[in-house]
């Protein structure tokens, strides 16, 4: 399959118009030494039918949530996606359009992004949101960079909870490695509660602290107590950055804006984007109004056209790389717009009552599963703090459990040993509205040995 429509006649006509004998003539500026070795050593192209078959075979070699029971969270969540979401983002007018630099013919994308920005503000309780970044992990990194742009030079310590998603912590470390003035430090978590250790945090906070990074809920699914942390940050003038990788939780939890977070970021995949092995999804990024000129990424603003009709445009573009170049707030150009659109459609479909309802079901099923499991011999709940739809379960024989589950096409959770050696007997389990009662029954039966 080639998708190039040119026939031999077409090529001849066009070459005549150009005044060249052959297409190769168009390359005469390219040194011969390069052209000689440029052949692409890949097999010939396949027909569409051959491609379909090949890809179906590859897909069949994977275990997916279609025929396995996954109790997996850890930053990516299996939620119900209404059919209308895919129907909308499959429209070529949305999927094959470009970044909306010509606003008069991009009002579809621009208005949808304006709606997206509004929904994120409403969900997080923050004043302003951008039009999405790559993922939750890079959103945290961008938040730190933004805090650095705002805070005075003496404030360059970043306090990062160890209960924050390990991959997010890794990405922040990567981004900061190249900036000599910033120091990244970890705040331990309380081994009993599973939340950030507040006493330790207070001990670490000082007038050099730039920002505090807090999972909300954190990687263990635990809901942190935000109010005292906000107060502690205030006492030293540090920014509070909340990180939410399961934004469905915000349908029920106090939103970051309500307890005064400076910046609220997270992963948006939960909101209508398929799991797709972790990508593409999107990172959401919201903050207080006073920081708006420092925000990274695209912003869509409302305006009017020459006849007074409301319209939308990309705005405050002077922050961005194509104008500010080396002084830009970020280098981000292409981000994750179509995924943000999926989230917009999802939130529109579920609406105020629907989002709350799905979140309530998550809470009910997760707490029910947790209670039933800890009633089994050899299982215990690891942490005492409240949780949304994820929790850490301690098991006497972790490997046996996982082996037994595999035999029944189940994955009970994520073993924590790779990131938290002290928790090597524990795994992170997530239960959503997609886990039927029968699945939980089967898991409980299997755990009984």
């Amino acid at each position: 399959m080639r998708y190039t429509p040119h026939t031999v006649t077409d090529k001849e006509r066009m070459l005549r118009e150009i005044g060249c004998a052959s297409v190769e003539d168009l390359y005469r500026h390219v040194p011969q030494s390069l052209r000689e070795h440029a052949a692409i050593g890949l097999p010939a192209g396949l027909t569409e039918l051959e491609v379909r078959r090949r890809m179906a075979a590859l897909a069949a070699r994977n275990d997916s949530a279609a025929d396995w029971s996954f109790f997996l969270g850890g930053g990516i969540y299996h939620h119900f996606i209404p059919s209308a979401v895919d129907a909308t983002i499959s429209r070529a007018e949305f999927s094959t359009s470009y970044t909306p630099y010509q606003p008069e013919v991009s009002q579809g994308t621009l208005q949808a992004l304006f709606e997206y920005q509004t929904l994120i503000c409403q969900l997080t309780g923050m004043d302003v949101s951008n039009a999405a970044v790559y993922d939750g992990a890079s959103a945290v990194a961008e938040a730190v960079l933004m805090s650095r742009r705002i805070q005075p030079a003496k404030k360059r310590r970043v306090l990062m909870s160890r209960a924050l998603h390990p991959q997010y912590r890794a990405v922040v470390a990567t981004y900061l490695k190249n900036l000599d003035d910033v120091r990244l430090e970890e705040v331990p978590f309380d081994a009993g509660r599973g939340a950030t250790d507040f006493e330790q945090l207070k001990r670490l906070l000082d007038d050099q602290t730039m920002c505090v990074l807090l999972g909300y809920p954190n990687f263990f699914g635990v809901i942190e107590e935000p109010a005292p942390i906000r107060a502690a940050c205030d006492s030293v003038g540090a920014h509070l950055v909340t990180v939410t990788s399961e934004p469905l939780s915000l349908a029920l939890l106090k939103p970051p804006g309500e307890f005064g977070a400076d910046i609220a970021v997270g992963e948006g995949q939960s909101l209508g984007v398929p799991m797709s092995l972790g990508g593409p999804a999107f990172g959401f990024f919201a903050c207080q109004n006073k920081f708006v000129r420092n925000i990274p990424g695209r912003l869509v603003g409302e305006t009017v056209d020459s006849e007074g009709q409301r319209g939308f445009v990309l705005t405050l573009a002077t922050r961005e790389q194509h104008i500010r170049r080396e002084k830009a707030t970020s280098n981000i150009c292409t981000s994750q717009t179509l995924c943000a659109l999926a989230a917009t459609v999802y939130m529109a479909l579920l609406g105020k009552s629907g989002l709350r309802r799905i979140a309530e079901i998550n809470v009910a099923r997760a707490h029910d599963a947790c209670a039933r499991l800890i009633a089994q011999r050899g299982f215990a709940s690891r942490f005492s703090a409240p949780f949304f739809n994820e929790f850490v379960m301690q098991s006497e024989n972790l490997s046996q459990l996982f082996a037994d589950c595999t035999a029944r096409r189940m994955v009970p959770g994520i073993p924590l040993a790779p990131w938290y050696p002290e928790l090597k007997d524990s795994f992170l389990m997530c239960v959503t509205e997609m886990n039927e009662r029968e699945e939980i029954d089967q898991l409980v039966r299997t755990s009984a040995g």
């Binding site: 500026h29 129907a87 070529a92 960079l145 593409p280 150009c333 981000s335």
Partner: protein, 501 residues
């Protein structure tokens, strides 16, 4: 404010509302069977919120009509010719969409252990090799989410490599024609930017590089072909100069669509590059992403590639999260997997021969347009271009018509305008990249429109200067949007017509 003149013969359809301006309290499009839940039994009430103020409350048909209506206010590749320079707006094949939606790909969880993901990992591993082959590089990482993130990753690897040699260096050389992400990524990586100018032929002189190259320059970032659509003919000499003083060469691969089967960056002295899968490899632009910006390196930089790495161990694929010299993670999980999958499917469909033909036809199409328009528009450079050509508004400016006006008038003809005012070194640039998936008839139609506008610029400049006339909205007030930013809807805001002056 006076009401604008109502032309009763024009469409009376009201402009679209926002999601928050329609609907009715209690409405939702999603039903769920089964149990209610008392959240307060599980979560202390002081941690809970009230309802989400202002969240939409709509039925399913309302939502679909809303978004379908919005979609009809968008141009897109599938509806219009979209010749944006350096964006490579080629056809996005439908088979890629079918494949990406297979449950065996769409319903995979990245935290499942690798034995559950062997098909996916095999595909990713093979894609790394395919991209390495096309670019003439030796190792690839698929992690970066977009070209800009690929640039940052590449620069981080250079920095890590030089630091290990005890010679970190402080500067990056960036040409004046570079995309804005180049200097922005350099700054993010902690480097200072030295800008050099292209010569009057639109390419970089080796001598210009020699002048600024010293032991404190870590690398040069070069785009080839450059953003003027010209092959950087001195690239091998430039690479030698940079290498001789211990620096490295980074290639911005955004314009790779011109080079497939023609010249491999790996043979030009390039040490590291990124590719844009949402450009060269047909994955949809989505109105601004998602994309993917894989990086390719030569052997000396291999150890610094980001994690996780996909490793073929025996007959299985595994993931290495810890590689001692790696720059680390640049994003979560395994990159934009769905985008990578589409690119893989595309490469399978085209094969080596198809990719080479794509580049050849991309050049044919661009030069055809250049030739047809060169008498009516001033060319930025009077020589054959590669996959894109640049015109300017110099001729039309004599009547007060600018590049912006020409672009807006093209909308009335049903074409998305080319890239405008970039690169900055060309005043009033119109950068046209047709791509290979366009037929000669489409190109003829576009050229006819451009010629008509050139004529209008002479005969009736006001018509062009007040364009567009037929789009869903007229020219939008961007100054107002920047002066008084309104970045969200709020309860009690004015409706679809502004009442403010």
């Amino acid at each position: 404010m006076s009401e604008p003149a109502q032309d009763r013969k024009r469409s009376q359809v009201a402009p679209p509302k926002l999601l928050f301006e329609s609907g009715s309290p209690g409405r939702s499009a999603v039903e769920w069977a089964g149990e209610g839940a008392k959240v307060e039994e599980s979560i202390p009430s002081h941690l809970l919120r009230r309802d989400i103020d202002g969240f939409p409350e709509l039925g399913e048909l309302e939502v679909l009509r809303h978004f379908t209506g919005l979609s009809q206010r968008n141009f897109s590749i599938e509806s219009q010719f979209y010749p944006l320079g350096s964006c490579t707006m080629k056809y996005n094949p439908k088979i890629n969409e079918v494949v990406a939606r297979l449950p065996g790909f769409a319903l995979l969880h990245p935290m499942a252990s690798p034995e559950h993901l062997q098909g996916a990992l095999a595909m990713l591993f093979e894609l790394e090799q395919m991209l390495a082959e096309v670019a003439g590089m030796e190792h690839v990482s698929l992690q970066p989410s977009a070209g800009a993130q690929g640039e940052l990753t590449g620069l981080m690897m250079i920095r890590a490599c030089l630091s290990e040699r005890g010679d970190p260096r402080k500067k990056i050389i960036v040409p004046d024609t570079a995309h804005g992400t180049n200097p922005a990524s350099s700054t993010l990586c902690g480097y200072d930017v030295i800008q050099i100018s292209s010569n009057d032929k639109g390419v970089i002189d080796a001598a210009a590089v020699e002048k600024v190259m010293d032991g404190d320059v870590a690398a040069i970032m070069i785009t080839n072909p450059n953003t003027l659509g010209l092959f950087e003919s001195n690239i091998e000499a430039i690479a030698q100069i940079v290498h001789a003083k211990g620096g490295m060469v980074y290639l911005d691969g955004a314009n790779l669509n011109a080079l497939m089967g023609v010249a491999k960056p790996g043979h030009m002295g390039v040490d590291v590059l990124h590719m844009n899968l949402h450009k060269t490899f047909s994955t949809p632009h989505g109105g601004g992403g998602p994309g993917a910006g894989p990086v390719g390196v030569k052997a000396p930089l291999r150890d610094y590639l980001p994690v996780p790495r996909i490793v073929h161990a025996g007959d299985k694929f595994v993931l290495h999260e810890i590689e001692p010299k790696s720059v680390g993670r640049v994003r979560s999980f395994l990159g934009n997997f769905g985008v990578l999958l589409r690119a893989y499917t595309y490469i399978l469909s085209l094969g080596g021969d198809g990719l080479a033909e794509a580049s050849r036809m991309a050049l044919l199409n661009a030069n055809y347009i250049r030739k047809k328009l060169e008498k009516s528009y001033q060319l930025a450079y009077n020589e054959p271009c590669m996959h894109e050509c640049i015109l300017t508004d110099r001729i039309q400016h004599k009547n007060g018509v600018s590049t912006l006006d020409i672009a807006k008038r093209l909308l009335d003809y049903g074409y998305h305008p080319p890239t405008i005012y970039f690169p900055l070194v060309v005043s009033g640039a119109l950068m046209i990249e047709p791509t290979e998936t366009e037929s000669p008839e489409t190109l003829d139609g576009f050229c006819d429109a451009m010629l008509a506008i050139a004529q209008e610029a002479k005969d009736d400049p006001e018509l062009v200067k007040s364009a567009p006339h037929s789009t869903p909205v007229r020219r939008l007030d961007e100054a107002r949007a920047a002066r008084k930013p309104v970045l969200r809807w709020e309860n009690g805001r004015a409706k679809s017509r502004s009442t403010d002056p």
